[in-house]
């Protein structure tokens, strides 16, 4: 796929919006603002220095939190917005499916709307006639095509709009947040259609919050964070990064995690720092994203405040649903005034997802808790291989014999 030439090229793209302070769409306010010497709006940068390429036939995901600029980026790709600066080069026609409804007219019938929409997308009447049956069939709305659109349920409208987008024969398809609507049967039909389009070599640009869909379809995923590209990742990694962005606003500040989480204890021994890392020598990677099957290291710095000779360190791993994955305790660990300990998990076998680590320091009888931190750290396990169900990976091997 890498040998194919790019079908979409975005280079040094900037976009900002003028956000009016008050009711702005009137001449009166404009004149008042001129006299007051205020601009009446503030400029908000929505996209900042965006550059990427999409290759022909790629299923390209764009994810990010609400308001990070995903939809703006998609609208710029669709030619609906113009960028302030930068180059957008699209080598081929495209069909956008943006927001709900695709601008149907409620007073027209389903059939009329299909043809009007087709004309807006640049198809001639005969081209639309050729596609019409397939569109109606895919939408499962044959009986309703001569009814006015205002009598459609919202699900029916989306189905019709999505069917046009899917059946419209353009090499590039832009899809924004569609799978949230429609019943599960229609959704699974869309999934099948996605696979087919992928096989046909159509390029699909897909904006979504649904990480399972990202992992199932996307080849590469662009992660946007407050208008900037955080990176372009494999789907598994992107999903992990996205989940992390959603849970903690400052994922890199580990001190913060320690002081913010629920914590109690006698304070005779105190946990000073918790670090999670993967790889043999535990350098680099501090993004708390761990590949499944790699070794995982948990390093804890302890401060001894009132001199217990030995302590027991207990860990608990929970998934995001609070299910206890494992709770290993140490034997007695002799203490200095400051002690670094490490817990090594060889070949981490958790299934992909996010996990929360609880750290507790006990006396030798595990009766007194010196320090207990409910969410001392979070980490995500990613895996770009085979789909897995359940909680743990077995690292089994299949063979024929």
């Amino acid at each position: 796929m890498s040998s194919k030439e790019p079908i979409v090229v975005v280079k040094d793209l900037y976009k900002s919006f003028k956000l009016p302070h008050e009711q702005h769409s009137g001449i009166k306010q404009r004149i008042i603002n001129i006299f007051k010497g205020v601009k009446g709006y503030e400029t908000q940068r929505v996209l900042n220095d965006i550059s990427f390429e999409i290759k022909k036939g790629e299923f390209f995901g764009i994810v990010g939190r609400n308001g990070c600029g995903k939809s703006t980026l998609l609208k710029i790709l669709a030619g609906i917005y113009v960028p302030d600066k930068g180059i957008v080069q699209i080598n081929g026609s495209l069909t956008p499916f943006i927001e709900l409804g695709v601008g149907f007219n409620p007073e027209l019938t389903g059939r009329e709307n299909v043809f009007l929409n087709g004309a807006l997308l640049g198809f001639s009447r005969s081209e639309m006639e050729a596609m019409y049956d397939a569109i109606v069939e895919f939408a499962e709305l044959k009986k309703f095509m001569d009814q006015k659109l205002k009598n459609y349920s919202s699900g029916m409208q989306v189905r019709l709009a999505f069917s046009i987008a899917i059946r419209a024969n353009t090499p590039i398809l832009l899809i924004d947040e569609v799978l949230a609507v429609g019943d599960s049967e229609f959704q699974s039909k869309c999934y099948v259609e996605f696979r087919k389009m992928k096989e046909e070599g159509r390029t699909i640009i897909f904006v979504t919050h649904d990480m399972s869909a990202v992992e199932r379809f996307c080849d590469r995923v662009l992660v946007l964070q407050s208008g900037k590209i955080k990176g372009i990742y494999s789907p598994g990694k992107a999903a992990a990064i996205y989940q992390r962005m959603n849970v903690s606003k400052q994922p890199d500040d580990k001190k913060d995690t320690l002081s913010n989480s629920r914590r109690w204890g006698t304070d005779d021994v105190r946990v000073d720092k918790v670090t999670i890392c993967d790889g043999a020598d535990c350098v680099g990677s501090t993004d708390n994203i761990v590949d499944q099957g790699e070794d995982l290291f948990i390093r804890i710095k302890l401060k001894n405040k009132s001199n217990p000779k030995k302590v027991v360190v207990g860990l608990a791993f929970k998934d995001i649903y609070g299910v206890n994955m494992s709770g290993p305790n140490s034997k007695g660990i002799p203490l200095d005034s400051s002690t670094d300990i490490e817990f090594k998990i060889p070949k981490l076998s958790f299934v992909p997802g996010m996990y929360v680590l609880t750290v507790a320091i006990f006396d030798m009888n595990t009766e007194v808790e010196y320090d207990h931190i409910e969410e001392a750290a979070r980490f995500s396990v990613v895996n770009d291989g085979i789909e897995q169900y359940g909680k743990i990976a077995l690292f089994g091997k299949w063979r024929q014999f």
Partner: protein, 281 residues
């Protein structure tokens, strides 16, 4: 680096795109939709396109043709009707053109397509309506026994003139309306004033009796000029036109010049702003 000639070539390419197949298809589809939607749910349907100017004509005729007699013109009823029909066309094209962009906001925010097609389509449906109304004028002419003249051949020219003026205004107004929603209210007032500033219900001779300068000034208005010329070519050569008023053929270039300037300004202003419609609507 782009050379001047490249820029010119590119602009020419764009100009030929204006009537590319894709855009023609879209234009047709939008005009058809416009007609389908216009009288949606009304019993009389398209008949309203004819009935509305007829009723306006009936009212104006009773008030100004019978109750208050304003001068005397040959074939006054047809003369009045033609004025009303042309004015209605101008009003419809500008009013609906003005609202066209904002009212299609939901589509503009979702699909990228040339926006000027929207304005073009609303003005063209007004043009189609005008054609229907002119049929009624023809019927009235038969009834009144108006004798046709070779000058009728000039009529399309004046209609095109009004159309281009309306299109230029619709471009400016629709783009302005995206920024300031006051535009529609302001335009409503302007149109009311313009209706009385144009010799539609009264013959121009009424103004000339008071002040010839005022009459000359009124006739600089392209609508007044076009309506008077249309009446001259179709109904009666008694009509006072720009050329007869100034006794100089060249003076017609002033209103025509205004039309050209308004159209060029409108298209450029629209083109400059249309890029940002999607985010500003």
């Amino acid at each position: 680096m782009l050379y001047q000639s490249d820029i010119i070539k590119r602009e020419l390419m764009k100009l030929s795109n204006v009537f590319s197949k894709r855009n023609r298809v879209l234009l047709r589809e939008l005009v058809i939709t416009d007609f389908k939607l216009r009288y949606q749910g009304s019993v009389l349907g398209y008949a309203w396109s004819l009935l509305k100017p007829l009723f306006l004509f009936a009212i104006m005729y009773v008030v100004f043709g019978i109750l208050v007699k304003l001068g005397s013109v040959e074939h006054y009823p047809v003369y009045l009707l033609l004025g009303i029909v042309l004015w209605t066309f101008f009003a419809e094209a500008t009013n609906q053109g003005l609202a066209s962009i904002v009212s299609r906001g939901s589509v503009i925010r979702k699909i990228s397509f040339p926006k000027y097609i929207i304005v073009l389509s609303t003005t063209i449906s007004a043009l189609v309506n005008l054609t229907l109304n002119l049929l009624i004028v023809a019927v009235f002419m038969l009834i009144s026994g108006v004798t046709l003249n070779v000058s009728i051949l000039m009529l399309p020219f004046y209609i095109i003139e009004i159309y281009i003026l309306a299109l230029g205004l619709a471009f400016s107004l629709s783009a302005l309306n995206v920024k300031y929603r006051d535009t529609s209210h302001i335009w409503e007032i302007i149109m009311q004033a313009a209706f009385y500033a144009t010799p539609i219900i009264y013959p121009l001779s009424v103004v000339m009796d008071k002040s010839e300068i005022a009459a000359k000034f009124l006739m600089m208005n392209p609508i007044a000029q076009a309506i008077q010329d249309a009446r001259y070519s179709l109904i009666t050569h008694d009509t006072v036109t720009v050329t007869s008023l100034f006794r100089n053929d060249w003076y017609i270039l002033i209103p025509i010049g205004i039309v050209i300037v308004v159209f060029i300004f409108g298209s450029l202003y629209f083109k400059k702003n249309s890029k940002y419609f999607a985010e500003n609507i």
